[in-house]
Symmetry: C2
Subunit: 410 residues, 2 copies
């Protein structure tokens, strides 16, 4: 089966920056077929700060278990990522494979094992051929560079069923002469579900943050970006989002204003990468934004939004450009959140379908039907119970989702 | 779009019994297009005992609200059912439409309004044209009869996207001369999800039960039958299962043995109807039984089983006859139930894929691939944590599910 690039793929890729202190290399080590790149090394010149959010799956992969055990130290010197095999559910052998890779890399790079993170993505339950990975370490080290191309190559190497590479960058102006930078790459197109770090994403910046509280802020941004998207409600065993802050040689005092700018730009970057994942949702033909307000709190609002976003009946209606808003009512009803029908309003774009419980579909039915043919759709729901709000993003459910997932075995 | 009969439909329909004390009629009242029957009256000669389980949706239809308000009286004299319109989210108008129908029926049949139950299924959020229903009451009353054909006609009239009528019956031998009977009809093929009464089903028996505790037993059977099936994880606003015990003129003392026989047969009947619903799952090409044992309790076991049964990635793998058991591991992992990988075993049919965490797929890969091509598949999962077990049933997820739900608007 030939998978075409998603019709929702960005027309243009943003250029990533050449950030001092980090270098990247990608090679093909033979885990993926067809000699495609499937192994990435990201190396930091000196131990750097690291923050992570990991899947809460109870059958996590060996890399998740390892990373969770070392992240409390908060330091990273290298990150190795393979695609094609998730190293999940391989028991002791999976653990051993990981340890052998970490150990070899530690020797070759003369860095502590506890500063080496790993990520694996691909098929579950098949032994990881660690020798293929270890054999390529010298070549990876030799190829390290920090150009846009090296980032893009890495974004390609971590793809599985992704139809396009996911990259994004932001610049924070510090003074006339100097800027700080953020580069991010990501992968993911199926098995994307909420309430955890929903795929692989690696974000690197050279900003010298001073304050504590970065961990909390990062988790909060993950909650509203990567954890607010869904493709198929399934949850991966391997997923993580890592933020790495490179140790800056000429350390500056940046002040609260630049720090605020940084977190704003980080939010933009993470939102954009999360959207790219949804836009590459398996079989997706439409990108759908769902905003819920008027709930009693954020949790209820997100629960309602995600219930719509995960409903196969809603998602197939969107695929068919069908204004069947009954399926939205059904999805709201199944959450368990108490609702007052006469307070519910629903809009497709700017058009009210339901206003305080009153059906207005027929007033604008032509315009709404045209609106639903668009590639990007916004749905707003107000439930009139309070001030809790949330925005989530999803895609439609099409026959191509079925094709990809009945035939795929990487 | 022409929908063909499900390939999983039963080859032969069981004959329903002519039970004294109940009569049925079906007509076309014009809510469904194409002059198809869309209205059913089930009438009891004298007030009969009624037990019900209803959807727990927070946006329930007007009939659900009405039935819940009268079921505490425990009596029924008539049941009216329409298809094509669910009378959900029609606010005051929906309530008024229901009241007008109940009131007209009460007058014509000279029975109390509080002994008339209603069920509606079909599109959400469109006003129910109650005049069409009321206009047909005289014809319904005139046509009442208690033959197999009248039951079958009713099972057809309550269909929406169902591709075949769902009926089943059981006989309980009482003595040489006398039997008791159970007749059941059901509908449902999409929007079937657990944790509630999952569709419409009406079950009628003439057994003169004496003991209390029927309500509890009935709810328990619903939990293990209609609430243990899933097609697409979506939950309807309208669904209910009703059990009606006809008042027997020549009341017998039946004793505990016959009573036990009755509940066993009732379980068989409800299991069969629940299976028929899954076998008519929208687009289904395979019927899948998932048994989980070794969980800490029933709840955990069911949670694990349902997580597999609801996973789009698992269901598409089944559609493709793909032994990708990693998706089962993923589904187990996402429930939050604590698992010990080295204790997990998985079988496809009689073939171990995983035995105490060890991958045995390659030993039987040909046999397993052949097995997965069957129309009926059994998957057993043991998690080795305790003695809790549960069985659930689902179907695969195919392109036809998407076709049906992008194009359907009854």
């Amino acid at each position: 089966m030939i998978i075409k690039t998603s019709p929702l793929a960005p027309k243009k890729l943003k250029k990533l920056y050449e950030i001092d202190g980090v270098s990247i290399a990608s090679v093909s080590c033979g885990i993926k077929k067809n000699f495609k790149d499937d192994l990435v090394l990201i190396k930091f010149n000196s131990p750097s700060k690291i923050y992570g959010v990991f899947t809460n799956s109870k059958t996590p992969g060996a890399p998740i278990v390892w990373n969770k055990s070392i992240i409390k130290n908060g330091k990273v010197s290298a990150l190795i990522i393979n695609s094609g095999n998730a190293n999940v559910f391989n028991g002791k052998k999976g653990e051993e494979a990981l340890k052998k890779i970490i150990s070899a890399l530690s020797l070759k790079l003369s860095i502590s094992e506890k500063e080496i993170f790993m990520a694996s993505t691909g098929v579950i339950g098949e032994p990881l051929d660690y020798k293929k990975i270890i054999g390529k370490i010298p070549q990876l080290i030799k190829n390290l560079s920090n150009t846009h191309e090296s980032w893009l190559k890495a974004a390609n190497a971590i793809r599985t069923t992704d139809t396009f590479p996911k990259i994004y960058s932001e610049k924070i102006k510090f003074n006339e002469k100097e800027n700080f930078y953020i580069n991010g790459i990501a992968k993911g197109s199926g098995m994307i579900a909420p309430n955890m770090a929903t795929m692989l994403s690696f974000i690197v910046s050279n900003i010298p943050l001073e304050k504590n509280g970065t961990k909390k802020k990062f988790k909060h941004i993950v909650e509203e970006t990567f954890n607010s998207i869904t493709v198929d409600s399934d949850k991966s065993t391997s997923d993580m989002v890592l933020l790495i802050l490179i140790k800056n040689q000429n350390r500056k005092t940046i002040g609260p204003q630049t720090e605020k700018k940084f977190f704003d730009k980080l939010t933009t970057l993470m939102t954009n990468l999360a959207h790219q994942i949804v836009k590459d949702g398996e079989g997706a033909s439409k990108f759908i934004k769902i905003s819920v307000d008027g709930a009693q709190n954020y949790k209820d609002a997100k629960n309602l939004g995600m219930s719509i976003a995960n409903s196969p009946l809603f998602k197939t209606a969107m695929a068919g450009s069908d204004s069947n808003w009954g399926r939205i009512i059904m999805a709201l009803g199944k959450t368990g959140v108490v609702l007052n029908n006469s307070k519910i309003s629903i809009k497709f774009g700017h058009f009210f379908i339901l206003k305080s419980g009153e059906n207005l579909l027929l007033k604008n039915v032509k315009k709404i039907n045209n609106y639903l043919k668009r590639k990007e759709i916004e749905i707003s729901v107000s439930v009139g119970n309070g001030s809790g709000s949330s925005t989530v993003w999803t895609c439609d459910l099409t026959k191509n989702y079925i094709s990809i997932n009945t035939d795929y075995r990487s």
